[in-house]
Symmetry: C2
Subunit: 408 residues, 2 copies
């Protein structure tokens, strides 16, 4: 038997079934009309945001990194909860505008911004987190053409990285941001070019469950921003400190201690370098805000035995759950939290492999997991499906198409 990851604590059973937003999994599937289905819970997101606001210093802004989940109704719901939005393309910008975000609350990071993307974002008044000197030249030129004052910040490639991070975005050579030692000259140049200078974006990693490492990284970010500003002799109107807040996906993962991070950050804020006294600080979070609020529901279409192993075959799979299948950055596949949603409070009685419907051995949702007996027609839930699920998976593979989505 291999363990599955921990089911987020806010889920419970109703009439024996997994409950989401006060309704059973099967009622939600009926409402959506079909499986596979992503369900995202407003209550879970709101509760997460409330905990976070309470733990973090009041001075800190919280931005939503919409790459985690750009589903329209969810994006609209987030707009009332967060202080800003981080986008990674003009495609995301258009989705954000439809969902009601103001351009001035929006910042745009990404190493490969096209001229047409810079044009649209600068014209609208979005803050550009510049990733290179070349991009800075292009942005200034486009702003001249448009005759506007562009809102420009610099994404810094710091020399430190976030310890224990699932994905390192800083430390050594990286395609992201400008190496710290070249930042002061660029910052000076932007201010001298009369841009609307916004400050720095310093992102050092993501998906960390180590509160101490995150606090240390935030302290490093603040110190670095102060140093760079002093060297360039510029102010720092805004400092985007990145994200990095992880969620438990796998057995033995422990939830992040955000109280610890909040206290450490408050101490930092109590003792800021003088050139950051007026700075607006922000963190950008995606997965941490919405990941645990989502569930992926898929129906059992076959149950079969091969050489003594039982396979529960579902109508979902890696075309909606690439990361859960172990095919998105993972070296070794481990089980996400998974359950038989239609028998949520039943005792586990057998060890099974839960697989998707695709004709490839890569399509795995649960390996050797201990489950209640699932029959054809039962619903399987994969948890932690609120982030990097629907939009980060190859939905058209094998002629399948996207899953349904619901915000409840």
């Amino acid at each position: 038997m291999k363990p599955a990851g921990p089911i987020p604590s806010h889920f419970s059973a109703l009439g024996g079934e997994l409950m989401l937003g006060g309704r059973t999994a099967s009622a939600l599937v009926d409402e959506a009309g079909d499986t596979p289905l992503f369900v995202y819970s407003r209550d879970a997101i709101a509760a997460r945001m409330a905990e976070l606001r309470s733990a973090m210093p009041e001075r800190l802004h919280i931005h939503y990194a919409m790459k985690a989940n750009p589903y329209g109704p969810l994006l609209e719901f987030m707009a009332d909860l967060v202080d800003g939005l981080d986008i990674a393309s003009v495609g995301e910008f258009e989705q954000a505008r439809e969902a009601g975000y103001l351009p001035r609350e929006t910042s745009f990071a990404g190493p490969g911004k096209r001229d047409d993307e810079l044009f649209a974002a600068i014209r609208a008044g979005v803050t550009i987190n510049l990733e290179s000197e070349g991009e800075a030249d292009r942005a200034l030129e486009i702003a001249r053409t448009l005759d506007v004052k562009p809102r420009l910040a610099i994404r810094v490639n710091p020399s430190f990285e976030l310890r224990g991070s699932g994905m390192k975005m800083g430390g050594g050579a990286k395609p992201f941001g400008v190496d710290a030692d070249r930042v002061p000259a660029l910052a000076r140049r932007l201010v001298d070019a009369d841009a609307n200078w916004r400050g720095f974006h310093i992102y050092s990693g993501s998906q960390s469950l180590d509160a101490e490492a995150i606090a240390e990284s935030q302290a490093n970010v603040i110190a670095l921003a102060s140093e760079l500003a002093a060297e360039a002799d510029v102010s720092v109107p805004h400092l985007n400190m990145g994200g990095g807040f992880g969620i438990p996906y796998f057995a033995k993962d422990e939830p992040l201690d955000i109280e610890y991070i909040g206290r450490a950050l408050q101490r930092q804020f109590n003792d800021l370098p003088s050139n950051l006294a007026e700075t607006q600080f922000a963190i950008e979070l995606g997965r941490y805000l919405v990941g645990e609020a989502g569930v992926y529901l898929t129906r059992v279409v076959d149950r079969k035995i091969s050489h003594g192993t039982t396979y529960v075959v579902t109508d979902g799979g890696l075309h909606h759950q690439l990361a859960a299948s172990g095919n998105f950055g993972a070296v070794v596949r481990r089980n996400y939290p998974v359950a038989i949603a239609s028998k949520f409070d039943a005792e586990p009685v057998e060890e099974v492999n839960i697989v998707g419907c695709l004709c490839t051995p890569l399509d795995r949702l649960g390996d050797d997991v201990h489950m209640p007996r699932a029959e054809v027609g039962d619903l399987v839930a994969v948890f932690c499906a609120g982030a990097y699920g629907a939009s980060a998976s190859p939905a058209t593979f094998l002629g399948q198409g996207p899953a349904q989505e619901l915000l409840v």
Copy 2:
């Protein structure tokens, strides 16, 4: 420096640029209107099919496994070249019908077929490769409801596997097919139920470059089919021997010796077991037919240096090239064949990292590759992009959307 994979030999330069279908890469981008762009070459596909027909016994049918590339115009083009089509979903079936394939030339394999999929396929007269006894029951029941004689074959999970296969589909416990020891009983049952009995589908692996291993596997498949038919006392109207023919993706990969496979298969055909004398044999190939005929073109949007490493940042990436980025079943990322398409005959002068535009360190197209100097505006080509590219990648990730596609 890390080596890139071998560029397929049919590509050459025209006016210094990569040429496809007699036109330069930049002319094709102009025609498509934008990058990123997949270009597939009719000539390359036709040449590949001609070589294959010439190497294989005349008796052998060649099917196209459309999961490799379902782009409409390409699918239509293939319809005139192959003897049958293998589909993996009803979504693919609908695309196939639009492209002009006849249902009776079409077979449907996949471990998670839904009732609605079985219904549509059986009603149309598609051959179902049954993956379990449970699926057989459902298929027979649906056929009764429809009052038709369903075309049924059994997908066998063989006890052997294809040596050196990139993806093992047989050997031990698998979600695919019915364990060989249970196949005779099921075959007998289908014949007794008065189904239109079609025979067996025995698939043992994919993406092998070892001709001896493939020949050995084909011999095993023929022997197994004969054995199973004898034990069940059924005929074998059709035997789908699977695929497995690989293409060179990485440095040191050598093209598959299809002449060797063809000769070995001819010897098998010369000496068939008597109960296979009337059998129609087929292989199903996807990647081998179209993989090397496709190129992915993306434009350089930035060129930057970080800690001494040069990054060439493009407007494409893993959202169209998941496998090339190393995130689809690969344990260790290796470089696909890659080139500066707009300087195709220029000498390499520098070592660079070619990356995509996504804000994730996973978005890599070429690590430490030796290239001509690429400037902003130059075109980068990723080869072997004809299979498992556009449709097997998370196109909507980070708000990007699908690439353009052209058949030339």
